[in-house]
């Protein structure tokens, strides 16, 4: 786990220097979960770690339980749970799953080039 985090830090440095301006962009993230299942809990903690590591101070994260607000599933075109929607910066992106694949999550959040 530690080794992985180190890798991430290393790569983060690399892409941050490459990204330049975009570092200052504000991230609006919505995480939709279906009840507090183990998957949901994993997703929340994974996301929080990433945000704290990479987007500290410039992200707005909201966790929404679809059971409480089922109509949001329709409105937001959600089919899978958990689903993370990156509303800003554009392009809009959906990341589904418990967000355990950090690499893919970073790619999905445009924090890392593929």
């Amino acid at each position: 786990m530690k080794k992985k985090i180190k890798e991430i830090e290393y790569s983060t440095d690399q892409f941050e220097s490459a990204l330049g301006d975009s570092n200052s962009e504000k991230y609006i993230l919505r995480l939709y979960i279906a009840g507090m299942t183990p998957k949901s809990i994993r997703a929340i903690s994974n996301l929080k770690t990433i945000c704290e590591d990479h987007l500290k101070g410039r992200y707005d994260l909201e966790v929404i339980d679809l059971y409480q607000n089922p109509q949001l599933a329709t409105g937001e075109q959600i089919i899978a749970a958990p689903t993370l929607i990156k509303k800003l910066p554009l392009p809009l992106r959906r990341i589904i799953g418990d967000l355990s694949g950090t690499e893919r999550l970073l790619v999905g959040l445009d924090l890392k080039k593929t």
Binding site: G35, K39, Q77, A80, L92, R93, R94, I95, I96, L105
Partner: protein, 568 residues
């Protein structure tokens, strides 16, 4: 045996009527209620439409609200697409009888990291069903999930869960799926849906397309297993099972004239039965259309409506040509009793053409329908389709007590008593027009091959087209065989002269006899006169003799007295 027959009735599955013409008959009452049904087929074969009609009919006819989950089209697109079929989705949506929901899956927007489930989809479906109290649900097409979500392991497990959930929910579900290469569907959806599978097909043979439907499987229920052609038109979906029509159309004993007095005479004096099907077949140029025109004219004259499907000629051409034999059908077209419909059936495909005919017939409500010629339904090797189409056409006409008059072109080399589509068994009255070739000329002959339910003439008549319409004449049947045309005329002339000379001979003999009789009479009277003259003379002489005798006696008595004779 009896038990086995009774059992399925008792345990009959609860079914949900589709309201789609013909489909309920094939499935014996609709789709399995509260269970999923899979509809699979190639692109463009009408899956979405069938599913949509199931919902629309459910909402309008059976008061069952329905939800349509569209994975491929948006609500707007769907509404626009089915508006052409007469479904007003906006109205149904406003009445809360229908809910359209587009499920947007865009592969490029989705990133997978780790485990997930389709709870979001389930929540949406659940919400949609509960919000209008839906009894019916369509998922069109759930296979799009496979395109959007690469992890098929999760997907398959989740689909299983979804269908379990739907079954518990008790909604009747239609799932559509693209047809796969070896499987019924590309993603093997049939694995999850095992209650009822319907396959749609859109086949193109000889450049014309035919849509077909088949119930592949229907667990726990008897169903029609054939492939049934179906149509999609302005009124939606209609399956036309050949067998569904049944053979119980009402019949009448009403008879209608064929338009040719002599032909009526051949048909036991009264013409065709109303509501029967009449076929005229013959080789090219034998006057099939003329017979049709006569019949049409006669029907219009009775004030009946005639619908004329001209499959090879334009209406103007037919009217012009028929005027040459003295039939003016234009007047009926003008006053609305006759309607022409000119179209090549191959242009839109047989099935579509059949629908078109059904539609036009339902609109115009004719008493007589003429199809000229039915042989043009055959293109290449689609005999079977053409036959089943005509069979359905005939049944349809009979059900509505419409008299059908069909012409059929017989190929030059084929047998006369053989229609190209083998529909003779469907036909009630079949007349054959034939060429009779004698003495270097061709003449037309007509005979009735069969006419169900009436005593008909079994003779061949010569069929002549004159300026005043078609006429039927007796052919010459004599020691030289059947003669027609000028051969008949010359033979008739020859016979006439022979007869004439025979007549003269008789006349002469009669005169001679008369003369003899007269001579005899004259002789008799001469003899009589002679006899009379002689008899007078003789009588005179007898009288004189007697007088003389008397005088002699008187003289003797006087003499005796004078002599004082004592005698006396």
């Amino acid at each position: 045996m009896k038990k086995a027959n009774d059992q399925p009735k008792q345990n009959d599955l609860p079914k949900s009527l589709t309201g789609i013409q013909g489909l309920d008959e094939i499935t014996g009452g609709g789709l399995p209620k509260g269970r999923p049904t899979l509809i699979c087929g190639n692109a463009g074969c009408g899956k979405t439409l069938l599913a949509m009609e199931f919902l629309v009919r459910g909402a309008t006819q059976y008061n069952e609200p329905g939800v349509f989950m569209a994975f491929e089209e948006t609500e707007k697109e769907l509404t626009a697409n089915v508006a052409s079929l007469g479904f007003d989705l906006d109205k149904l949506t406003a009445k809360k009888m229908l809910l359209l929901e587009h499920i947007h899956i865009e592969r490029s927007e989705i990133e997978e990291t780790g485990e997930y489930d389709l709870e979001g989809l389930l929540i949406r479906i659940n919400l949609a069903i509960d919000s209008i109290g839906a009894k019916r649900l369509v998922l069109d097409t759930i296979e799009s999930l496979f395109g959007g979500l690469p992890n098929t392991l999760i997907l398959r497990a989740e689909l299983r869960r979804l269908f379990r959930f739907l079954k518990e929910k008790g909604v009747t579900v239609i799932i559509t799926g693209e047809r796969g290469d070896e499987m019924l569907t590309r993603q093997g959806l049939e694995e999850y849906v095992s209650d009822c599978v319907i396959m749609l097909d859109h086949r193109v043979t000889e450049q014309t397309s035919t849509r077909r439907l088949r119930v592949v499987k229907y667990r726990g229920s008897a169903h029609g297993t054939n492939e049934y052609p179906f149509l999609i038109d302005e009124t939606g979906f209609s399956v036309l099972p050949v067998t569904s029509v049944g053979l119980n159309h009402s019949v009448t004993t009403d008879r209608i004239s064929s338009g040719i007095p002599r032909l009526d005479t051949m048909l036991s004096g009264k013409g065709y039965y109303r509501g029967s099907s009449v076929l005229v077949s013959g080789t090219a140029g034998t006057g099939k259309s003329s017979l049709a025109a006569h019949f049409a004219f006669a029907a219009c004259k009775r004030g009946e409506r005639v619908l004329y499907f001209a499959l090879e000629e334009s209406p103007q051409q037919i009217i012009r040509n028929m005027r040459s034999i003295g039939i003016d059908n234009e007047q009926w077209v003008k006053n609305g009793l006759m309607k022409f419909h000119s179209n090549r059936p191959t242009f839109i495909g047989l099935e579509s053409y059949l629908t078109l005919m059904h539609k036009v017939i339902n609109e115009f409500k004719p008493e007589v329908v003429i199809i000229d010629p039915i042989s043009s339904f055959i293109v290449g090797t689609n005999d079977f389709e053409a036959k089943s189409m005509i069979m359905r056409m005939v049944d349809f006409l009979k059900m509505n007590t419409i008299t059908g008059f069909f012409t059929s072109l017989t190929g030059a080399n084929s047998e006369l008593e053989h229609t190209q589509i083998n529909i003779s068994s469907l036909i009630d009255t079949w007349m054959i027009l034939r060429d009779i070739e004698i003495g270097g000329e061709r003449n037309r002959g007509l005979h009735i091959l069969k006419s169900r339910g009436m005593a008909h003439s079994n003779q061949i008549r010569e069929y002549i087209l004159t300026d005043n319409g078609a006429e039927l004449l007796d052919v010459y049947v004599g020691p030289d065989g059947v003669l027609t045309g000028s051969a008949r005329i010359s033979k008739e002339a020859q016979e006439y002269s022979e007869q004439l000379s025979r007549q003269q001979e008789t006349e002469r003999k009669k005169l001679a006899l008369e003369r003899k009789r007269k001579a005899m009479v004259a002789k008799i009277s001469e003899l009589q006169e002679e006899f009379e003259a002689e008899s007078i003379e003789t009588l005179n002489m007898i009288y004189l003799e007697e007088e003389r005798n008397k005088a002699f006696l008187l003289q003797q008595r006087d003499m005796a007295m004078s002599r004082k004779a004592d005698t006396d």
